[in-house]
């Protein structure tokens, strides 16, 4: 193939303005920098505000006394019962959500894999992760509060567990998928039963990621408020045990997030101050755990 048609326009072409193109490019770059700084500034600003306003409220009383029953009080109370309540509720939620979520993740990664059922489960899990947490609260209300006629801490825990399930499942699946096949095969080839291979060998290999995933899932629901609004509600009292009107299964349970919501929305400055203290505790816990797991285990998982 030698000659190609030389029928091409010999007319010179009009050039587009290079200055203009460079100007647009520069503008976008400047906007990028501004945007990035702005994003970081907002983040820093939020943390700053919480720290400054909340620090004033953190004293010995804060961590030992319960929330004031007299709203006009201006000192001498704390958020201790709420903190304990959150820990108990989150603990129960984790006890339900982590194992089930973990096993669901095992199913997705080890058994179902690309099968039809597993693909559907996976997609549904993704969808559920996007359901607003208040809807989960309404759901828990409908199945756990309405039938028995009273609020309870366990209802809140169930709501939180529901939220935790798909997160834990997908995180577990992603982590387990990172473990190389060779490890599975060599263990199985030695005649070790499947369940031992999965729980022993593979989970050991993926230990860091799994702990990270579980921690982040727990921390995420610990900061939730909406699911507790109509389930655990809140309470100015300490938990008096498991059953009975003051108990975990029997009545409203104090918790940090709902209490903050109530106090922040109230017109009483002292309560607002307590709310800021609570916010600070939450931010320290949430951000602290996030940073901690990432540092300790290097490979932190996002969402």
């Amino acid at each position: 193939m030698s000659a190609v048609a030389q029928t091409e326009s010999a007319l010179p072409m009009r050039r587009r303005s290079v200055t203009r193109r460079k100007a647009v490019d520069l503008l976008i770059k400047v906007l990028s920098w501004i945007g990035a700084w702005f994003g970081i500034a907002v983040m820093a600003f939020i943390v700053w505000e919480v720290v400054v306003r909340g620090a004033a409220a953190l004293n010995w009383d804060f961590f030992t006394k319960s929330t004031p029953q007299d709203f006009t009080a201006s000192a001498g109370a704390g958020m201790a019962n709420a903190i304990v309540g959150t820990l108990v509720i989150t603990g129960f939620a984790a006890a339900i959500g982590i194992p089930i979520g973990f096993l669901a993740g095992v199913y997705l990664a080890e058994f179902g894999r690309n099968g039809r059922l597993a693909t559907s489960v996976r997609m549904i899990a993704n969808v559920v992760m996007g359901v607003p947490s208040i809807i989960v609260g309404v759901f828990a209300f409908a199945i756990m509060v309405r039938p028995v006629g009273h609020y309870s801490g366990i209802a809140g825990a169930v709501a939180l567990a529901f939220i935790m399930l798909p997160v834990m499942a997908r995180t577990t699946e992603d982590i387990l998928n990172l473990v190389p096949n060779e490890l599975r095969e060599s263990a199985l080839a030695m005649g070790v039963p499947r369940w031992k291979v999965t729980l022993g060998v593979i989970c050991k290999a993926a230990r860091g990621g799994l702990i990270t995933g579980a921690t982040l899932a727990i921390v995420r629901v610990a900061g939730e408020t909406a699911p507790l609004l109509f389930t655990a509600l809140s309470s100015p009292y300490w938990l008096t045990g498991l059953f009975g009107p003051g108990g975990f299964f029997g009545g409203p349970t104090a918790n940090l997030t709902k209490t903050i919501y109530d106090f922040a929305g109230s017109p009483y400055p002292y309560l607002q101050e307590l709310a800021w203290g609570g916010a600070l505790v939450i931010i320290i816990a949430v951000l602290g755990m996030n940073v901690l797991v990432r540092l300790v285990f290097q490979r932190g998982k996002k969402w």
Partner: protein, 337 residues
């Protein structure tokens, strides 16, 4: 002879698809099938959970659905005392605040992602990226509190008066309507805070997808004499657009359902439509949050649950759309998004 467990898994790569023989002693005989059943059951729990949730919502909102008909979504008057449950104001507020949030968050997310992928040293990108991810971890109630104690006064005392004093203040949609209260608690304020709540996620996904553009393709673009912005928007964004669209849908879903921050900041005007971005309003989620506990009337409760059902359906739709778009990314790159 049941001594060998054949496990042929579909879709397995390499030797994993070959039948596994696990010799069984006494000990292993029940372990494996039990384990498998257990794991599958847990997997199903996740799936059934969603259907259960939908069913419960439908069941509990049935009285409202049959009793109120379409009034819930077409009328504006929301007054439990007179038995009227028109949630049009809530729907409008949800829609508007989400719109404001998306208009602010999406472009911002894209330029930040551009910066992280193209304009800074990788170490800096990691730090900035982590900082923005931290923003995602902050619980929404904190956003709400900072919003109400800091942003709202700022809006009220500074920003809104300033905007209203400029020609912008005369535009429809900005000009204060009859429900205007002071400009602090408003749709716009809620929208701004919402924007920062969904920004981290969209930024992170955009960054990840844009980083997947092959280096050769970008070099080819630069080699043709393109500027950074031209390579980004003609090449990288096109390459990444499925992932970005998916992320935007997910962000949309979150903004629609966000409760705590919005409840603090959007106001509680349940029975009038806002005519300005600076008017207070309400959203579905905050309407539920604010009035649910005091709902003594059967029908009111049912109406609120029906609203919850509506919100649920909308967010599920957006999530499904997002999954669709994100799967297109998986298919083109062969990996998981």
């Amino acid at each position: 002879m049941g001594t060998v467990d054949l496990d042929i898994r579909p879709g397995a790569e390499g030797p994993r698809g070959v039948a596994e023989a696990t010799p069984r002693g006494r000990r292993g005989r029940f372990g494996d099938p039990i384990f498998r059943v257990l794991a599958t059951a847990c997997g199903l729990t996740v799936a059934l959970g969603m259907f259960g949730l939908a069913a419960v919502l439908v069941y509990n909102s049935w009285p409202a659905i049959t009793g109120l008909g379409t009034h819930v979504i077409t009328t504006v008057a929301w007054s439990p005392t007179t038995g009227e449950y028109g949630a049009l104001a809530a729907l409008t507020g949800t829609f508007l605040s989400t719109l404001v949030a998306m208009v602010i968050a999406v472009p911002l997310a894209l330029v930040i992602a551009l910066l992280l992928v193209e304009l800074v040293h990788p170490a800096v990108a990691r730090v900035v990226g982590t900082a923005i991810e931290m923003l995602a971890a902050i619980p929404s109630i904190i956003f709400g509190m900072v919003g109400i104690f800091v942003i709202v006064p700022f809006m009220q005392d500074t920003f809104v008066p300033w905007v209203l004093s400029t020609p912008l203040g005369e535009l429809p949609g900005i000009k204060p309507g009859e429900t205007f209260q002071q400009g602090g608690v408003s749709i716009f304020t809620a929208g701004i805070v919402l924007a920062f709540m969904i920004l981290p996620f969209i930024t992170a996904v955009s960054r990840d997808v844009m980083a997947m553009v092959p280096q050769v393709t970008k070099e080819a673009g630069y080699g043709m004499g393109s500027t950074t912005w031209e390579v980004m928007h003609k090449i990288s964004l096109r390459y990444a657009n499925s992932g970005i669209v998916g992320a935007v849908f997910i962000g949309l879903g979150r903004a629609l359902g966000e409760t705590m921050a919005v409840a603090f900041l959007i106001g509680s005007v349940y029975d009038k439509l806002p005519t300005s971005l600076f008017d207070p309003g309400t959203s579905i989620a905050s309407l539920i949050a604010n009035t649910f506990s005091e709902a003594t009337d059967e029908i009111q409760l049912s109406a609120l649950i029906e609203l919850g059902l509506i919100l649920f359906l909308i967010t599920v739709l957006f999530q499904i759309a997002a999954q669709f778009w994100l799967r297109r990314v998986q298919r083109s790159t062969g990996g998981r998004a």
